[in-house]
Amino acid sequence: MSAVADAHAADHHDHGPAKGIGRWLFTTNHKDIGTMYLVFSFAMFLAGGAMAMIIRAELFQPGLQMVEPAFFNQMTTMHGLVMIFGAVMPAFVGLANWMIPLMVGAPDMALPRMNNWSFWLLVTGSLILMSTLFMDGGAPNFGWTAYAPLSTTYGPDSTTFFIFSVHILGISSIMGAINVIATIINMRAPGMTLMKMPMFVWTWLITAFLLIAVLPVLAGAVTMLLMDIHFGTAFFDAAGGGDPVLYQHIFWFFGHPEVYILILPAFGIISQIIPTFSRKPLFGYTSMVYATAAIAILSFLVWSHHMFTVGLPLPGELFFMYATMIIAVPTGVKIFNWITTMFRGSISFETPMLFAIGFVVLFTVGGLSGVMLAIAPADFQYHDTYFVVAHFHYVLIPGAIYGIFASVYYWLPKWSGRMYSEALGKAHFWLSFIGLNIAFFPMHFLGLAGMPRRYADYPIQFANFNQVSTIGAFLFGASQLLLVFIVYKAVKSGPKADAKPWDGAEGLEWTVPSPAPYHTFEQPPRVD
């Protein structure tokens, strides 16, 4: 045994990356795979963003200027799908790949080969999804939620491709999640007990659990769509004894945990960054862990708050209203803990911290509008209006996207060994912050005043705020190009970064040099 181990150790050590394209195609290295995830997700972010610009350009004025309603609906659908499945989820998986082994002191992910398969299946699924844009009859046009029967009897041909792409993306995410769980449970360095794990690791552990629990449910839902389309089944057709609302139940049983999948890793990131730049330990670590777990468990019990107007029986309506309201409690705990972490700290405002503070402020806005939406009788007014659009963009952009931006600035020195330009980073933050609020705050007004979502054209009473919103959206969109430039410039010619560029930072990832060597922690560190 020891002879084999030695032989293997010899062939394994001191290996840098392979040369050429093969390095990326065949790699098993968590850092390579993490980089590929991050780059790919950013490309998808730009693609999804371009679709958003088309939407906002059309809505700049009432009337039909730029695109036909049929194409407009394809854009809203693809924008949602690309952002959720192509940008946010893969970006988090990329961060998990890069950071979890570094944070728990593991030599790599637990199942390195499968790790690479997860990534390439993401590409496969995305290719199929994007190819629908070029098909006869156009891309999916029924919204990212794909409600039957608009997506079955009335769907375009490309629906079938959409369904299989969701299957493939789901398989990719499930394998990614299994890898994360196996790594966290099995690969921690000696002494790293569960309650010593960094918050990012904790939130990803819980996210991975959610992924494995609900993506198969989505697979079931879209499989039933496929059967209704091609095999004559009647799942969502009352004429055969089925029910279109059944689809919505299955979809949202996936969908609500999914929105937490999109936010929990960001919670973890913020819980890393705020202590670092406040130079003070995270307040209420234990309650943070429990709050995250509570949110995850509750998220299985609230799905029908997306369906308050489908005609649920009264007891159901009441149950889902109460359950949804309760979710606000652990969410509040997290926000209060972050603020208390800053309280009496010694705060500096590097770009990651700016995004983190922006996160706490704006996520609060989204959380509060969430509480309003949870009030079922009022949701009879809010539902399917721009008020909901405002809500989920306030939780998703300052939430998920800011979380990702913050971590890019925070860990870029570790990844690339170089610092970004602080001045440009700050500019990126402020432009994004202003653009985002101009784009999305007026949407609250639009929704309350009566503008439904997914409208290609609208009454002139909504013209003013739509115009404002479009201006903000273009500002936000344009400032993201700055991020490309900042990262490019830093990697190319940024000043060299120390192993620990942030004086308040803690954790194993800062004990390895910057950039992190190709193989790290081949000998596990000791944590006490």
């Binding site: 181990a5 293997h8 499968m114 398969w117 390439w120 590409v123 190819s131 091609h230 089944t233």
Partner: protein
């Protein structure tokens, strides 16, 4: 926690990218087949793409497994690696549980909410206005609109083939456990014989299941398009059948490896993974038998 010292990280591997290409071809081909079929367009090219993709996937799986087996035989895997595999397999099975949970949830919703509402019962019984003369019953033989969905003449009763199949699968779980016990005591022959019996029982189960489908289609007019009962019946039993097939293939591969002497009393994760999966498939069947056939 053991030290990470010898945790094996393979240098690089072509299989993931081969697998991704295989998936792309398979599913692009399959989608095109389905779409062209419903539009009445030719499907030959699409079938070719699909088949090539499927072959690439088979190539990938065999190649990947060969690598893993080779590494395992070379002693590159330590106890920690074994735990990673166990984690991986357990969570994979958990994801399968979630999938079937969604199907069972749909069954319950249809039975206890949708169909009664359509039949005029309960909080949303007003729906019956739209389906004059429709009466809720389960199994549903008359659909709300029989001109669109002609209902089945009858459904499969539980006490014939399904009961037999239940006994077969339960027995197969027992034979599997006997084999596993034998393996733990390093008794080679009984290990192999009991496992072979398990695989054989699985094959018999599938044979009867196909029998049952033929009966349903040709005599009972119970089909995928005979309304919601047929839809959910074939969806659930069909996906279960696919899992029996997959589990059977896994156990067959395990059997071959046993015969080659790959497993020892203390080192047989591949065997155990197959066994877990088989027991899981068995439990799903029992739930199916109770909720789809009996109740």
């Amino acid at each position: 926690m053991s030290s990470n010292q010898s945790y094996y990280v393979p240098e690089s591997s072509i299989w993931p990218i081969v697998g991704a290409v295989g998936m792309l071809l398979t599913f692009f081909g399959l989608s095109t087949v389905l779409v062209n079929q419903s539009n009445g367009d030719p499907t030959t090219t699409a079938w070719v793409v699909f088949t090539v993709g499927a072959l690439v996937l088979v190539y990938m799986i065999t190649g990947w497994l060969r690598d893993v087996i080779r590494e395992s035989r070379a002693g590159l895997y330590d106890a920690q690696m074994d735990r990673s595999f166990r984690q991986g397999m357990s969570w994979f099975i958990f994801s399968e549980v979630a999938f079937f949970a969604a199907l069972f949830g749909s069954l319950f919703y249809i039975r206890f909410f949708a169909v009664p509402w359509l039949g005029g019962e309960g909080a949303k019984g007003t729906a019956n206005m739209l389906w004059e003369g429709f009466q809720a019953q389960w199994p549903l033989l008359n659909n709300p609109d029989n001109s669109q969905f002609a209902g089945p003449d009858a459904v499969i009763g539980p006490w014939g083939l399904p009961l037999l199949n239940t006994l077969i699968l339960v027995t197969s779980s027992i034979t599997l456990t006997l084999s596993h016990k034998a393996l733990k005591y390093d008794k080679r022959k009984p290990t192999i014989y009991w496992l072979a019996a398990t695989v054989a029982l699985g094959a018999i189960f599938l044979f009867f299941q196909i029998e049952e489908y033929i009966e349903a289609y040709s005599h009972l007019h119970l089909t995928l398009d005979s309304g919601i009962y047929g839809s959910i019946f074939f969806l659930m039993t069909g996906f279960h059948g696919l899992h029996v097939l997959l589990g059977g293939i896994i156990l067959f591969v395990v059997l071959m490896r046993l015969i080659k002497g790959h497993f020892s009393a203390h080192d047989h994760f591949g065997y155990e993974a197959g066994a877990w999966y088989w027991h899981f498939v068995d439990v799903v069947w029992i739930m199916l038998f109770v909720f789809v056939y009996v109740i």
